[in-house]
């Protein structure tokens, strides 16, 4: 097990390097650069800017410089947020995005699991049908539309909640709902299917005929086994929630890394693009590792050698 762990951690190095290289090449291959504006900069300005930011160096040297600095924790400067270095931008942004993502994940999991379990227990009942409808609506509504709906209802009409920003519990309610809707629906469906399959297994029949109380049967025996497919999707869902909340962040003016990254791409802010991509790659790799380890905890049949 420790051998496996060590190997997975060592793999991080080459993976991150490959991500950095591919991102770097793509970034420079795309048409349009950071100084291209509709009202163009004078060639003198462009020459001075390229010199100031080291963009007049040959590409390979720019890449090597970046890697060298990154190993020391210096991810460079941002062209669009000139008052703070990229590492600062990522750090403060990440705290926000991670909180938003985790809250949404918890809500999605709790609601999704509940809906899914209830539906599986009362299969084909009105409750089951109703919760499928709720799940399907949540899944089909684009996040942006849901966001607009929430703001119009809770801010403009009812004046209950602020329209955006981040920092207070009231500001978190709508973004979390908007972000959790789709994953919740997805988890509900997977949970229902997985529970149904597990509940039809023979060992459940055995447990019941042994005289165990229903809650024990459900939680000790059914859930534990039903969890595996749920975990399979929970990992990527958690990662995507933490990394990909761009639409919600933009609409609710939340200062997170999702918004920062996409804006950086549009503005060709090379520092932000490289820094954010590497950061996400690290995050995703670590998250995948965590999920894989969790499998071993949940399912005693799985052993890593």
């Amino acid at each position: 097990m420790t051998g496996y762990l060590l190997r997975r951690i060592l793999y991080l190095g080459p993976v991150l390097f490959a991500v950095a290289l591919i991102t770097f090449l793509l970034m420079h291959a795309v048409s349009g650069g950071p100084w291209d504006h509709n009202k163009p900069f004078d060639p003198v300005t462009v020459a001075n800017l390229n010199h100031k930011y080291g963009l007049d160096q040959p590409l390979w040297r720019q890449f090597v410089t970046f890697i060298g600095n990154a190993l020391h924790g210096d991810l460079g400067v941002s062209y669009t947020n000139q008052s703070r270095p990229v590492s600062d931008l990522l750090r403060s942004g990440f705290l926000t995005t991670a909180t938003l993502g985790l809250l949404s994940f918890v809500v999605a999991m709790c609601l999704g699991l509940t809906l899914g379990i209830v539906a599986s227990l009362r299969r084909n009942s009105l409750l089951d049908r109703a919760s499928s409808i709720i799940a399907a609506s949540a899944a089909s509504m684009p996040t942006f539309v849901l966001g607009v709906f929430l703001i119009v209802l809770f801010s403009v009409r009812l004046h209950w909640l602020p329209t955006g920003g981040w920092g207070s519990p009231e500001q978190a309610i709508m973004p979390v709902i908007a972000l959790a809707a789709l994953p919740m629906a997805y988890i509900a469906r997977i949970t229902r299917a997985s529970m149904l399959e597990v509940l039809s297994e023979e060992y459940i029949l055995t447990a019941r005929s042994k005289g165990l109380r229903e809650p024990v049967v459900l939680l000790r025996h059914a859930m534990r086994n039903a969890l595996i497919p749920i975990l399979t999707v929970a990992g990527p869902i958690a990662v995507s929630l933490v990394t990909g909340s761009f639409i919600v962040e933009s609409f609710f003016s939340i200062p997170g890394t999702g918004r920062l990254f996409v804006q950086g791409v549009f503005a060709r802010d090379y520092g932000v693009i490289m820094g954010a991509t590497l950061f996400y790659a690290l995050l995703v790799a670590v998250a995948n590792l965590a999920v894989d380890l969790l499998y071993a905890v949940v399912d005693p049949r799985i052993r890593y050698g």
Binding site: V156, P162, T163, G165, S250, P255
Partner: protein, 567 residues
């Protein structure tokens, strides 16, 4: 597990509540509140900046958001009054030939600074601060995009271009740079006198003393504090406000600067929020989180129809012109007759009505209202006339539908797509030409037009100051920095040369008029509309003075005048 019937009841109950909430709250968006005329106890104004400023360094600010904030935190030698005339600010008078501020040969400008002006830390604002800022602006290591605007100053171009040919730059050493810096014609003769020397006479250069790139800077602060000098607590202000708080990507809070030389602002707390989505910002206004907001075009009709909101609507002139720009270097748009034909094929009234949702004024020439040189009578000969347009095409040899396919490229953001589709419809219908649309991502679009690889594009023009000098030479002069179409007319260039060297403002305006007429005769571009802004302003906000110079904030030049009444 609750019984089925109880769950049903819950479901019905929830639906009923939702319905009730929607219908009951579906009344007026705003409850009309009586507003007394007494000053409110809390003088707080909340505006939407829209996004985090790129920088608050005046030498580097080039985007509207940064400029809007910079204008609150710094003062310039000169400023503008409500009619956008130049007035003294840090300088005690606007230099002219009669007061000796401008030398007889038009090459030397002398600014006398007021002696009572102080920074927000109590230090006096001196001519040396202006000299430092001007030279830092031109420093190639600063790499400011506004340096070329100041190349009329002696030694400026040499300093900024120290690295030589922009295509093949070679780095220079500190000693050479220092020498070039000393040779720049901006000199603090004494604590309160600044002398600026030009390469050649250019009387519109006074405007350059009023705009932000050379707002004075404190050398000890900028160089002593490193990158942190723009953070609250470290930043020192020369303007009416100081930076009290900056929660990055969320909001900025500005409070009055007790050392400002002018009359103290009435607003005690200026909150600049950063709500990026225009619809979310509109919702914020309706939820009483903002005091002024830009109305998204699709919401204008509903705002006009609402009894309360319609009273809060304010329209103002923006200093901007929308147009379709031709690439005059390639057929078929290298032929003026073809350009004129296309110009006459656009129904501008319909464009303002359908594409711009009624926001804007029909335009036939470049310079917009609110700027000297605006002349609504110019360009009427290119008004909508499809028949005449077709005749012109035949005259140019393109009758019988043998006009090559036309491609309209555009940056696929905002209203550009609508604008491009409109033009496509008009050209196809009125001229019988085949038009293709090519949407591009914004930066890719900018790169494409910079390389001159376009046929016709929807574009918007603005200016740095309200004078034809900021409109004509750079956009249509042969060497013009913004002249992407490659338009070149020797007569136009000659008129521009004459105009900038003309000391008498009346005569200068006459020359600019002639130049503008040339552009229309030549159909250099299809001018279609002058930009307008539509805002909602809370009834308790008084004296918000909107001008065409507002770059990032509403009323940004005169926020010292604005105040809040009881509500």
């Amino acid at each position: 597990m609750p019984s089925k019937s109880k769950l049903w009841l819950l479901l019905i109950g929830m639906t009923a509540v939702l319905a009730a909430v929607f219908t009951s709250a579906c009344g007026d968006n705003e409850k009309a509140k009586p507003s007394g005329e007494g000053l409110a106890p809390v003088q707080e104004l909340r505006l939407n900046l829209g996004e985090e400023p790129v920088t608050i360094d005046p030498n580097l600010a080039f985007d509207g958001v940064s400029i809007g904030v910079v204008r609150q935190l710094y003062s310039g030698l000169l400023a503008f009054d409500e009619d956008l005339n130049l007035v003294p600010a840090l300088a005690s008078e606007v230099p002219s030939q009669s007061n000796g501020g401008i030398s007889a040969d038009g090459l030397t400008y002398t600014f006398k600074l007021r002696e009572d002006a102080k920074w927000s830390d109590g230090q006096p604002i001196t001519a040396a601060d202006v000299e430092y800022s001007a030279k830092r602006l031109l420093d190639p290591e600063t790499a400011s995009s506004y340096a070329p605007v100041y190349f009329d100053i002696k030694g400026a171009a040499e300093y900024a271009m120290a690295m030589g040919d922009p295509e093949n730059p070679t780095p220079v050493d500190e000693a050479t740079l220092a020498g070039l810096r000393d040779a720049v014609g901006v000199e603090a003769v004494d604590e309160h006198t600044l002398r600026v020397t030009l390469v050649q006479p250019r009387y519109t250069v006074v405007y350059l003393a009023a705009i932000w790139p050379i707002y004075p800077l404190r050398q000890d602060i900028v160089e002593g504090l490193g990158d942190a000098w723009t953070e609250p607590g470290k930043h020192v202000s020369s303007g009416p406000f100081v930076l009290s708080e900056w929660v990055h990507n969320d909001h900025m809070t500005l409070t009055p600067n007790p050392y400002w030389y002018g009359e103290q602002p009435k607003i005690q707390k200026l909150v600049l929020k950063m709500i990026g989505d225009p619809n979310a910002a509109y919702a914020a206004y309706l939820n009483d989180e903002l005091d002024v907001v830009a109305v998204p075009p699709s919401n204008i009709k509903s705002a006009e129809g609402d009894s309360n909101l319609s009273q809060q609507l304010v329209r103002s002139v923006d200093m901007g012109t929308l147009a379709y720009e031709f690439n005059v270097q390639a057929p078929p748009f290298d032929d003026p007759k073809v350009r004129q034909a296309f110009a006459m094929a656009i129904d501008r009234e319909a464009l303002v009505d359908k594409v711009l949702f009624g926001v804007g004024e029909v335009a036939y020439s470049l310079i917009p209202p609110g700027t000297a040189g605006y002349d609504p009578s110019v360009g009427q000969e290119l008004a909508y006339d499809p028949q005449k347009a077709r005749e012109l095409l035949t005259e140019a040899g393109y009758g019988d539908g043998n006009l090559p396919d036309v491609t309209i490229q555009f940056a696929d953001v905002g209203g550009n797509r609508l604008s491009a589709e409109f033009a496509q419809g008009q050209f196809e219908e009125n001229l019988g030409v085949n038009v293709k649309l090519e949407p591009l991502e914004p930066r890719a679009f900018a790169a494409t037009i910079m390389q001159g690889q376009f046929m016709i594009v929807p574009i918007g023009w603005g200016a740095d100051y309200p004078d034809p000098d900021s409109w004509l030479p750079q956009n249509f002069g042969t060497e013009g920095g913004n002249n992407l179409a490659g338009y070149s007319n020797a007569e136009f260039d000659a008129l521009v040369q004459q105009a900038v060297a003309e000391p008498d403002p009346e005569k200068r305006l006459a020359l600019w008029s002639q130049a503008q007429q040339l552009l229309v005769d030549d159909a250099a571009a299809i001018f279609v509309s002058y930009r307008e802004r539509v805002r909602l302003v809370k009834p308790y906000v008084k004296n918000l003075i909107l001008t065409g110079m507002d770059a990032g904030l509403d009323g940004e030049l005169f926020l010292t005048e604005t105040y809040i009444v009881e509500h």
